[in-house]
């Protein structure tokens, strides 16, 4: 499965490419908001007006790709996409004591709304699916795509993820102890030694097909693990590498989902222990934590493999050359682990 185009709206200037010229933004605090482009022009005004934030970001990232590439299906992963609208609807229910309510928030709050909206705007009548499986949503979307491409029933797909930070969902994460009470600059996140992390949001979109020619990078394999056993994880990582015909020394970068949560960052050592020679590069200092954070990691890896590197800085270390294989290891709240192996096409 090969990545032929990407687009990313995130807390970094990833949409317009400034990430690779002027460099990374060092966010501070407990939520890294997305740098949204001006949508006027790329999304019809009549559509933008009723869009919730996640539908807007997903559309803003995906539309230019869909205008350029014909796809036979649209598959997204999202867990918190639409939560803002869900809660606006819930607030209406409570405020008006279940009286007459406006339906837009209800419709826009559905996780399937971004994928449905994209199909609507591009009149795409192909396969359409939305995976909403907390920390595995993006991996689920990739595997869905892999299965379809493998069957030969589709030629090309749009696959992506979208997450939004809403006050409501942020509060829920905070009272449940998953977000830090306060946080300084991103550069200090991983050394914080406190529980909780910081939230991020955005949309990462990919055009995928089975053709190597002209691709940014290859998505060689995807695996998931539910649990928190270091022993199981180490075994899984080693088997994952081996079943792809590689030695652990073939992995040049371990793109690691370290997020500064002292309770669960230790689990990432399973990767660094299995691959002691790989450079460990974190990505949540750039993108924050979200249920689909691995989608942003995938974008970061694909760009790096294709030769696009951000200027070196406190949260953008150097990538090694040659860059043959990158392993993304992401987990969400310690229980859901995703492994994505990306390789160069050369």
């Amino acid at each position: 499965m090969y990545i032929h185009a990407t687009a990313c709206i995130s807390p970094q200037p990833t949409f317009n490419g400034d990430f690779f010229s002027t460099g990374a933004v060092i966010n501070s605090g407990t939520h890294y908001m997305a740098l949204e482009p001006d949508y006027m022009g790329s999304i019809p005004l009549g559509q933008v007006r009723r869009m919730g934030r996640s539908v807007r970001m997903a559309t803003g990232a995906a539309m230019p790709l869909l205008q350029q590439f014909q796809v036979d299906g649209i598959i997204l992963g999202t867990t918190d996409g639409g939560m803002g609208d869900c809660h606006r609807f819930l607030d209406q229910i409570m405020e008006y004591a279940e009286g007459t309510l406006t339906p837009t928030n209800f419709v826009q709050g559905a996780p399937g709304a971004p994928a449905g909206g994209l199909a609507l705007m591009t009149r795409n009548s192909g396969y359409n699916n939305t995976h909403s499986n907390k920390g595995l949503s993006f991996e689920n979307a990739l595997i869905d795509a892999q299965l379809l491409l493998h069957e030969g029933v589709v030629r090309q797909l749009l696959v992506g993820c979208v997450e939004e930070i809403s006050d409501a969902q942020f509060n829920i994460e905070r009272v449940a102890g998953y977000v830090k009470e306060s946080a300084g600059p991103a550069a200090d996140l991983l050394g914080s030694r406190t529980p909780g992390t910081v939230n991020g949001e955005g949309a990462a979109m990919f055009i995928l097909n089975a053709e190597p020619t002209g691709a940014y990078a290859r998505v060689k394999d995807v695996a998931t693990y539910s649990g928190d056993s270091m022993a199981d994880l180490s075994l899984l990582i080693k088997e994952f590498i081996t079943r792809n015909g590689l030695e652990t020394t073939d992995v040049d970068v371990l793109l690691s989902g370290l997020n500064g949560d002292v309770r669960t960052d230790g689990l990432y050592e399973a990767g660094s222990q299995a691959m002691p020679d790989a450079s460990v590069i974190p990505y949540k200092t750039l993108f924050g934590e979200s249920p689909s954070a691995s989608g942003f990691a995938c974008w970061y890896a694909a760009q790096a493999i294709a030769g696009h590197r951000a200027p070196i800085g406190p949260i953008t270390p150097a990538w090694p050359d040659p860059l043959r294989h990158v392993l993304v290891h992401n987990h969400f709240q310690g229980h859901q682990h995703g492994l994505i192996l990306l390789s160069s096409v050369a």
């Binding site: 005004l45 009549g46 933008v48 007006r49 009723r50 009286g99 007459t100 309510l101 406006t102 339906p103 837009t104 419709v107």
Partner: protein, 88 residues
Amino acid sequence: MEENALKAELKQHIIKYLNLLEMKPEDIADDEPLFGPNIGLDSIDALELTVLLEREYGIKITDPAEGRKVLVDVNTMAAYILAQQASA
């Protein structure tokens, strides 16, 4: 309320409820079809408008057929509101 003032107010509400970005009240002619090509509302917007009428003017439209007659343009909406207020 006086008719012109009502129409002006109605346009503000319509813009707010339907989040008609970049539109100002003066962009909506009194007789511009709400579901026509320029303003381009759809069936979900129609539901939003019925909520607008209830929340802002206390008027409940329960019959879809009646709704279709009322929700044509600002003129018809204003006339309906005034008629309901007169008979209340």
